[in-house]
């Protein structure tokens, strides 16, 4: 039993141990990353789904979670819940949702794992929403709380330390 818990993904363990102050930190950082342009974008999606084929992840997997509008909805849920009046009064009606460990897990899986921030969805959006910038803001909020997939974080750490993500020394 202890072997099983030892092998547990450190990120998963971290998510399980998330406290309210951690969630508040994510929200606080997210709030500071939102400017008036982002706030306008977050109020604009009409859920038309026309962005589907502009995403190479969606083309490959045909999975709803790779649909740019779905990825954006993960971010708008929070924006609506905490920064809009209707989201506080009637959250279900407009698709607002409270930030909890389940949503954090989905943010990590989807926003880190299903987007390269290429921006094709933005160019193809009927409303012109800059989806990658909003995903980046959410990623920033996660990163500030250390909620980054370990594989990705180690690549970044190596790049910062060695000057390249492969960890190749200057001599080599």
């Amino acid at each position: 039993m202890s072997d099983k818990s030892d092998k547990k993904d450190p990120l998963e363990a971290k998510i399980e141990q998330l406290k309210q102050e951690d969630l508040d930190k994510v929200l606080n950082v997210f709030r500071h990353k939102i400017n008036r342009e982002y706030a306008a974008y977050l109020s604009s999606c009409v859920h038309c789904g026309l962005c589907a084929e502009s995403c190479h992840y969606y083309l490959t997997h045909q999975d709803i979670k790779s649909l740019p509008a779905y990825k954006l909805s993960l971010v708008t849920r929070i924006f609506k819940k905490y920064f809009s009046f209707i989201g506080k009064v009637a959250p279900r009606w407009i698709g607002a949702e409270e930030l909890d460990s389940v949503l954090i897990q989905e943010w990590i899986d989807t926003l880190f794992g299903r987007c390269t921030l290429c921006g094709r969805c933005s160019l193809n959006c009927s409303m012109g929403i800059n989806i990658p910038y909003l995903i980046r803001a959410a990623r920033g909020a996660l990163a500030a709380t250390g909620l980054v997939p370990p594989g990705l974080q180690s690549t970044i750490d190596t790049a910062v330390e060695k000057g390249n993500n492969m960890g190749i020394s200057k001599e080599d």
């Binding site: 009409v46 709803i64 193809n124 012109g128």
Partner: protein, 209 residues
């Protein structure tokens, strides 16, 4: 009774406009993002593209690949704006010439068909259904009903009070749900044009080989 409903339509329209202004003020309260990079060509060309050529289906893969939905959307929104004009013509008792009424009926019936088609798509297409919330369905239904009543009103004035009542509800609902995109569409497209225009990405350059 009709006079009271006319006042209700006008008042709800004002309430809607004021609420949208509050929403914009709230959006502005989030502050401005500092821009450090030098602008390549200014944003105006991007904005012109965003509202012109950039709206055409051949400029956007998403529209080109979903041409029936794109056309349905254009017809639907044209019908909605036509119904709004007709609503205010009724409220302010402007007499409309017969040929215009005939054109109105054609536009409204086409818009209605498109509205129902878009609603059906939202109900039956799993991907769209999954990203939809009750507000999406309600907004579509309330607008479709308005189109139905506008259409009926071109034949009989007995439906006018109901049309006014529904219009009042719809105006009050605008800032609450997704119908607010009647304003945010323009806001977002301007930002889109500014963003890519400033970077020299849009309008796209044609390269000579």
């Amino acid at each position: 009774m009709l006079s009271i409903l006319k006042i209700a339509v006008i008042l709800s329209c004002f309430v809607s406009l004021i609420s949208l202004s509050i929403l914009v003020t709230k959006t502005f309260s989030f502050g401005r993002k500092p821009l450090y990079a030098k602008s390549r060509q200014g944003g105006i060309r991007g904005i012109i593209y965003a509202f012109g050529r950039g709206m055409m289906p051949w400029e956007k893969e998403s529209a080109a690949k979903h041409l029936p939905t794109y056309i349905a959307g254009v017809v639907y929104h044209t019908g909605i704006f036509t119904a709004l004009l007709y609503l205010f013509a009724l409220v302010f008792s402007f007499g409309l010439p017969d040929p215009f009424i005939s054109l109105l009926r054609i536009l409204l019936s086409l818009a209605l068909l498109c509205g129902f088609a878009l609603l059906a798509k939202r109900i039956f297409l799993p991907t769209i259904k999954k990203i939809s919330c009750p507000d999406d369905f309600f907004a579509n239904v309330i607008v479709d009903l308005s189109l139905v009543l506008a259409f009926v009103c071109t034949y009989t004035s007995s439906a006018t009070p109901l049309f006014f009542l529904l219009a009042t509800i719809m105006f009050l609902y605008v800032p609450v749900g997704k119908i607010r995109h009647c304003f945010f569409f323009f806001y977002s497209r301007i930002l889109f044009g500014l963003f890519y225009g400033r970077r020299g990405v849009l309008p796209p350059k044609t390269h000579k080989i």
